[in-house]
């Protein structure tokens, strides 16, 4: 019972938007266990539910976030449980949603707005870049902006135009913003709970193609029961020969690639970057010092993508031991294509394997 590509929601902006299974109010877990099996949609919903319960200043709003529960149902049931003053619908205007978030933060609230799809963050860019990202600075720290902007992001669901964008490089380039993207339900639960309790603005990029994939979520702590907060990158698979660096939906794809490469005797390490700003340079360097080879994988276009930043950080920290230039396997420098062509655009298993091959076969001189 996965709910993947089930009923269509009647939504003006997204005829492709998918409905989940009805989220279960109780964790699907055996008694006494701290681990539950949840889809990413359920994990995000649970995290928001807990944030609302734990922080009376937290408020959730955006287009269709209230009664409908969002076009992806991430806020499903939250208005009924926490009330219409905590979870509410706004008029359909992204600049208004973000500008309002800035004002609410100035009034001491912790806004958790939603922009319905990545491409609709553009109408809010002035409020995100010129206002939200700078108000703490402009006010010399007197007016912090504890705003967690949730953005269903990236491609892979055959959506209409503007519903499949990867904006991480744009946001990461803006001083005053932090950017994070979860790769699975466990990460989604902990990263959102962490992001939504921070005193700074965080762009929370949800990989919409992974919303309905289920996974184990250890509710106790971020990574392991004794670990600290989920602040840096995370090794999702240990390997000795090459490091694949990815985030969001590309992490699962890289893990698939690692399985296939293992059949050929290639031992691939997969590093989930998680935080796209600040980037965990130490984790990048630690991994590549060991493997001495790296491929960075992202859906966003190649030129000036975050892969360039990752490659530079690796080169800076590992130049003496690198066996080959850092390879990038990414989307192309084209507008995100229609659904029929998106499998040609998003890095697929073959293209990532070719990238690995290029690195492994590289010879100096």
């Amino acid at each position: 019972m996965t709910g993947f590509r089930q009923a269509q929601s009647p939504d003006a902006k997204s005829p492709e938007a998918q409905s989940p299974d009805a989220p279960s109010p109780d964790p699907e877990a055996p008694a006494g266990s701290h681990t539950v099996t949840l889809s990413m949609q359920q994990a995000l919903n649970r995290a928001l539910d807990e944030v609302l319960a734990e922080n009376p200043r937290a408020v959730i709003f955006g287009e269709d976030c209230g009664r409908l529960g969002g076009v992806f149902r991430i806020t499903d049931g939250l208005q009924a449980k926490h009330g219409a003053s905590r979870v509410f619908d706004t008029p359909l205007a992204e600049s208004g949603i973000l500008g309002m978030s800035v004002g609410l933060a100035m009034a001491g609230f912790h806004p958790i707005p939603e922009v319905q799809f990545d491409g609709f963050a553009y109408p809010a860019i002035n409020q995100i870049v010129c206002q939200m990202a700078r108000m703490n600075y402009r006010s010399r720290g007197a007016l912090p902006m504890p705003i967690t902007l949730r953005v269903p992001s990236f491609g892979g669901i055959r959506a209409p135009e503007h519903h499949s964008e990867s904006l991480e490089a744009l946001f990461a380039h803006v001083p005053g913003l932090k950017v994070v993207s979860p790769s699975n339900p466990h990460e989604a639960y902990h990263l959102l709970k962490y992001a939504a309790t921070r005193p700074d603005p965080v762009i929370f990029m949800e990989p919409k193609s992974r919303y309905w994939q289920k996974g184990d979520v250890d509710l106790r702590a971020a990574d392991t029961p004794d670990a600290g907060p989920p602040t840096g990158a995370k090794v999702m698979r240990h390997g000795r020969h090459i490091t694949l660096v990815a985030w969001g939906a590309m992490v699962a794809r890289c893990l698939q690639v690692a399985d296939l490469a293992a059949e050929d005797g290639i031992d691939v390490e997969v590093l989930d970057l998680r935080w796209l700003k600040p980037i965990d340079a130490e984790a990048l360097v630690a991994s590549v010092r060991k493997t001495r080879r790296a491929v960075v994988v992202h859906e966003a276009p190649l030129t000036s993508g975050l892969g360039a930043e990752v490659a530079q950080l690796i080169t800076q920290g590992c130049f003496d031991t690198l066996k080959a230039p850092v390879e990038r396997v990414t989307g192309f420098d084209v507008p995100y294509p229609s659904g029929d062509l998106e499998d040609e655009y998003i890095p697929n298993i073959d293209r990532i394997l070719f990238g690995i091959q290029r690195v492994l076969e590289y010879r100096r001189g």
């Binding site: 800035v102 004002g103 609410l104 100035m106 009034a107 703490n136 005053g176």
Partner: protein, 345 residues
């Protein structure tokens, strides 16, 4: 134009007392003097730039005077020195933005109840709506007042803000200073229909168009708007019709787009001279009072100049330290490099 209903109990806001009237004049005189001084300071090299508000003293002082700084919050643009002064904001800390000390100014927005100076036209109008909705959520009767001009009224954010505020019944006063000019573009080429207040009808927002050069009309309109907002009736638009007598900024040359004759005809009666005549006619002030007001304004401007000249640059480390509440390794690293390479530490 006035579509703002009287309060439920039928009472209008109380008229200003004689002491309040004299205080209003003193404030306007202080603002006029400081404004003229700031232009001179720019010419003298004390400050690199300034956006004068000459001619808008009545609109700014009259509206700012209505604010209850124990609870309300004001969202200015970059041309609200008169509002800030009427609210009691420290003028050295306010003017520091024009000395290029810190973009938002050095004043504490929380204690002064004035948001940081905003350089994006209409940038803070939505913030007022969010802040005001926060008051609704908190059950507070505090009011947000946001300033904008005829030029800003063309921005989409103003439409979004008015629509959001009306839908949510947010306690916001949209205070429009229609000063006739957006840098070089006159109102008739900026505001379709000729009135920002008239747009209120489309949002179901009560609106007032007032003589922005009449400080008493502005004060009364603003007080009425605050009463309306405090009672949970939602937003109000006030359009104060005034005139930007000076340039857009100390870098602007109005001679390129309007003649002196046009300026004289458009500006109408000087708001200070007009109020002075009113006070004299009513017997509420005499020449000695006006002389004291002028002397006090001159002394204040001199103190502000001394304060600005004494104001050194902020430590460069603040560039890094004030970006986030929780800094990042990259910022720490850049800060350390900067110290090493620029301060030779």
């Amino acid at each position: 134009m006035d579509t703002l209903p009287l309060p439920d109990d039928g009472t209008a806001a109380a008229p200003p007392t004689p002491d309040e009237l004299r205080e209003l004049y003193s404030l306007m005189a202080a603002v006029r003097r400081l404004d003229a001084s700031a232009v001179a300071w720019q010419r003298q090299g004390v400050i690199p730039g300034y956006a004068p508000e000459l001619g808008q003293e009545a609109a700014q002082v009259g509206s700012g005077y209505a604010v209850d700084t124990s609870r309300d919050f004001v969202f200015p643009t970059y041309r609200e020195m008169g509002v800030a002064r009427a609210m009691g904001v420290d003028m050295v800390e306010y003017m520091s933005t024009h000395k290029a000390t810190w973009h938002g100014g050095l004043y504490d927005p929380k204690t002064s109840r004035l948001a940081p100076i905003q350089a994006v036209v209409a940038g803070s109008v939505l913030h007022a709506v969010g802040w005001a909705h926060g008051q609704t959520l908190d059950g507070s009767d505090a009011v947000a007042m946001t300033y904008l001009g005829d030029g800003a009224s063309s921005q989409g954010d103003v439409h979004e803000a008015m629509n959001f505020a009306a839908v949510m019944k947010a306690p916001v006063v949209f205070f429009v200073q229609n000063n006739g000019w957006a840098i070089s573009v006159p109102t008739e080429r900026q505001v379709a229909g000729g009135s920002v207040a008239a747009r209120g009808a489309g949002y179901g927002i009560p609106a007032l168009q007032v003589d922005g050069n009449d400080v008493l009309a502005v004060l009364e309109a603003t007080r009425r708007a605050f009463v309306h907002c405090r009672s949970g009736n939602g937003p109000v638009i006030i359009e104060a019709m005034t005139y930007r007598r000076g340039p857009h900024s100390t870098s602007d040359d109005p001679g390129r787009y309007r003649s002196l004759d046009e300026e004289r005809d458009g500006a109408g009666e000087d708001p200070l001279r007009r109020f002075r005549q009113q006070l004299l006619s009513a017997g509420l002030a005499d020449e000695a009072f006006f002389a004291r007001a002028e002397a006090s304004a001159a002394a204040e401007a001199e103190m502000v100049r001394e304060g600005l000249e004494a104001l050194g640059p902020r430590p460069g480390s603040e560039m890094f330290d004030l970006v986030f509440q929780e800094t990042t390794p990259a910022l720490q690293s850049q800060s350390a490099s900067w110290r090493e390479e620029s301060e030779h530490v």
